[in-house]
């Protein structure tokens, strides 16, 4: 018996046949009987299992067949190819290069399990590759999917310099929002002589409606731990800190367990995997201030002082925690690192656009059919995200805008729907990438009201250290409030623009520098709505209470339901006759509108 033959006999193969609709149409089911026959013929039937999977998301290359172990993917497989695959790959352990369409990449592994092609088809999962696949509290699950192999690889045959060079070559940029090249950040810290150095994971996610970091940690905490350990090795740090908000108890529990399990396996602590590298991670809880997501404020918070930003430079990479060189990266950035090491910077570069490489995770929310956590390659258009992944706007309503970047971002109207997602394109369109909040807005929302909502948030969270942010946002909010109450004055829009631009230029940190964005972008793209509020006292979405009146139409059958619920007795009328609302008494609570079963009450 040859050596190859021995190996093949010793291995149990699991062959997965894609059972998605496209693959079935292309004849995948005929492959199965052929496979069985060939396995029998070579005496492999006892040692192989054939499984079906849901759509693997590679429909254009169907039928798809996967051979495990090894995760070799074969595409465009015909019945005639089966004997070759069985004989060459299964019998002689020589994968058939002619048909193999993918190497053993880490990304997208989840497609083996998920059949949900409509939602997952346009996605590409790098950082979320294990989210929703594995048991996050079981390190065996992570280890079985090449977990900690990237760490082992850098410890085995990469110098710290070559790790930094690899990350730099990948083109990875910070996923926290600003998009600073990660490799460059690491290089600055690695070059510093002062020790000890630190690496920090920023998990102080605070944007309203954002849950990317929480889900990533809850779904796959070890990826973050591994990424940080690799970062520690690259820059020469022996200590890592996860700064996570206290409002995320489950995420805290899971990352704490991940750190403990990694320690127990010798993957953290002294002399990791028998090497000379020692590294450990501790958890620090945030106390609930939005501004502590800003890196210098975060450092102050860890040091035990008040969480306020300070001017930069010096940047944390040079003088960070306790005045020592510190790398701070976002959860998602860290989760990219193991994939870059194992799949290589060269591969990573092929994903995304010219200036923005890789993928981005978004928390898709608002008026969209499939709300959810998604990860798409950079360069995917907003339209693809909202209509293909998100499934469009529910209830036949009209799309109005999409808000990206949370309270620091902007609202983009329909003409920007084909904007490809990357740092530069979004900035050019007047919004930002941000950390990944994406809220879809339909015609039922008032843009002035939305701008007010976000400004209210940042105004509340302003730490108060610098005047433009503290006073400026307050004044802007006053003007916005007055506009939504129907008391807007001529010149208010110009005043908002002037104030907003001033705050952006003069504020100390990112919070103030970006706080006016929601207002400025809605003025730019929806100026007519502001004008209607001010000059005509009209809110076209009928959201601003003071600008709405309720009226009863001739559809009224006189059932009296509205009369009974009205808290201020503003509705009068006799049974079976059309009722009327006394506009002087009406407080615009909307109770009658919600109660009427005949659509007889309208907002005008």
């Amino acid at each position: 018996m040859t050596k190859e033959r021995e190996l093949a006999v010793a291995t149990t193969y699991r062959i997965i046949v894609c059972d998605g609709t496209t693959c079935i149409n292309r004849g995948s089911r005929n492959l199965i009987s052929r496979l069985r026959e060939q396995l029998e013929r070579h005496g492999l039937a006892d040692r192989s299992t054939i499984s079906l999977s849901g759509c693997l998301g590679m429909c254009d290359k169907g039928p798809i067949l996967v051979v495990n172990p090894g995760y070799t993917i074969y595409g465009n497989v015909t019945e005639a190819d089966i004997p070759e695959i069985v004989e060459e790959h299964l019998l002689h352990n020589r994968p058939v290069a002619r048909l193999a369409i993918q190497e053993d990449h880490l990304y997208n592994r989840f497609f083996r399990v998920f059949g949900d092609a409509k939602f997952f088809g346009k996605q590409m999962r790098i950082t979320l590759r294990n989210c929703g696949i594995i048991d996050p509290e079981n390190i065996d699950n992570y280890l079985s999917l090449r977990g900690y192999e990237a760490l082992a690889r850098v410890l085995t045959d990469m110098t710290p310099e070559s790790v930094v060079a690899e990350v730099e070559a990948s083109g990875l940029r910070g996923r926290g929002g600003a998009g600073f090249p990660t490799g460059m950040k690491w290089k600055f810290t690695a070059a510093q002589k002062a020790t000890p150095k630190y690496v920090i994971c920023n998990a102080d996610e605070g944007d309203p409606g954002a849950f990317m970091d929480r889900s990533a940690i809850e779904g796959d905490p070890h990826t973050v731990v591994e990424g940080m350990a690799i970062g520690g090795y690259a820059v020469g740090a022996s200590k890592g800190i996860v700064y996570i908000r206290a409002e995320y108890p489950l995420a805290i529990k899971r990352i704490t367990k991940a750190i403990e399990d990694a320690r127990a396996h010798g993957l953290l602590g002294e002399n990791i995997l028998g090497s000379s590298f020692s590294f450990d991670i501790e958890i620090r809880l945030g106390a609930g201030a939005f501004v502590c997501g800003e890196e210098t404020a975060l450092i102050h918070s860890i040091e035990g002082t008040r969480g306020m930003p300070r001017p930069r430079p010096p940047y944390p990479s040079v003088q960070g925690l306790f005045g020592l060189p510190t790398v701070i990266n976002n959860v998602e950035t860290w989760a990219n690192i193991p994939v870059i090491i194992l799949d290589g910077a060269k591969w990573f570069q092929t994903v995304g656009t010219e200036t923005s490489k890789g993928t981005k995770v978004f928390a898709l929310a608002g008026k969209v059919v499939n709300t959810g956590l998604i990860e798409v390659p950079m360069g995917t258009s907003l339209r693809e995200i909202i209509y293909d992944v998100g499934g469009g706007i529910p209830g036949g309503k009209k799309f109005k805008a999409v808000q990206t970047g949370g309270p620091s971002g902007g609202c983009l109207p329909e003409q920007y729907l084909d904007t490809p997602i990357d740092y530069e394109s979004l900035a050019k369109a007047g919004s930002i990438m941000g950390s990944g909040g994406m809220i879809v807005i339909d015609e039922d929302s008032c843009m002035v009201d939305i701008a007010k909502f976000f400004l209210e948030f940042t105004q509340n969270e302003s730490c108060g250290k610098c005047t433009p942010c503290r006073e400026g946002t307050k004044r802007m909010l006053e003007i916005l409030t007055r506009i939504t109450e129907g008391k807007g004055r001529a010149g208010d829009i110009e005043k908002l623009e002037r104030l907003g631009n001033m705050i952006k230029k003069a504020s100390l940190c990112g919070l103030g520098q970006s706080a006016p964005n929601p207002v400025l972008s809605t003025i730019k793209n929806f100026r007519e709505e502001y004008e209607e509020h001010i000059h005509q006292g009209r809110c076209r979405a009928r959201v601003c209470t003071n600008l709405v009146t309720y009226q009863i139409t001739e559809k009224c059958v006189g059932c009296g339901a509205c009369r009974k619920v009205c808290p201020v007795v503003a509705i009068s009328g006799t049974a079976k006759k059309q009722h009327v609302i006394d506009q002087d008494k009406c407080v615009k609570c909307g109770m009658c509108f919600n109660t009427c079963k005949f659509d007889a009450i309208v907002k005008v």
Binding site: G54, C131, D135, Y148, Y248
Partner: protein, 118 residues
């Protein structure tokens, strides 16, 4: 002296055999979504239904939690994966649906099509 890479490969092999030892390949695998969002939607109750069924004698099940896969509007989600069959993912699973999944799908091999996310 084994390299870190040798050590991690050994660890992986051990992890895989531990998982297989728990019945990963030989049984029906049931995954219940257990991230904050899923729990808020009621997945803890769903998990309990499966746990109770197992303690009351339901066999050949590999029950596991999982993180959030991102289908917020259809949570809680439950997946049933079985060798030789297309994986099935159920959406909006509550206690009652969980019980029916046990009775109809796990015990009788009948997929409950109307709750499947596809």
């Amino acid at each position: 002296m084994p390299t870190p890479l040798d050590l991690i490969k050994k660890k992986r092999a051990e992890a895989v055999s531990r998982i297989i030892g728990k019945g990963y390949l030989s049984t029906k695998r049931v995954y219940v979504g257990m991230a904050t969002c899923e729990i808020a939607a009621g997945s803890k109750d769903v998990m309990e239904v499966f746990q109770k069924a197992i303690s009351r004698g339901l066999t050949d099940i590999y029950l596991s939690q999982k993180g959030c896969a991102g289908r917020c509007n259809l949570e809680p989600t439950v997946e049933v994966i079985e060798a030789g069959k297309t994986p099935v993912k159920y959406g909006k699973v509550d206690k009652d649906r969980a019980m029916q999944i046990i009775e109809r799908h796990l015990k009788n091999g009948q997929v409950i099509q109307e709750w499947v996310i596809d």
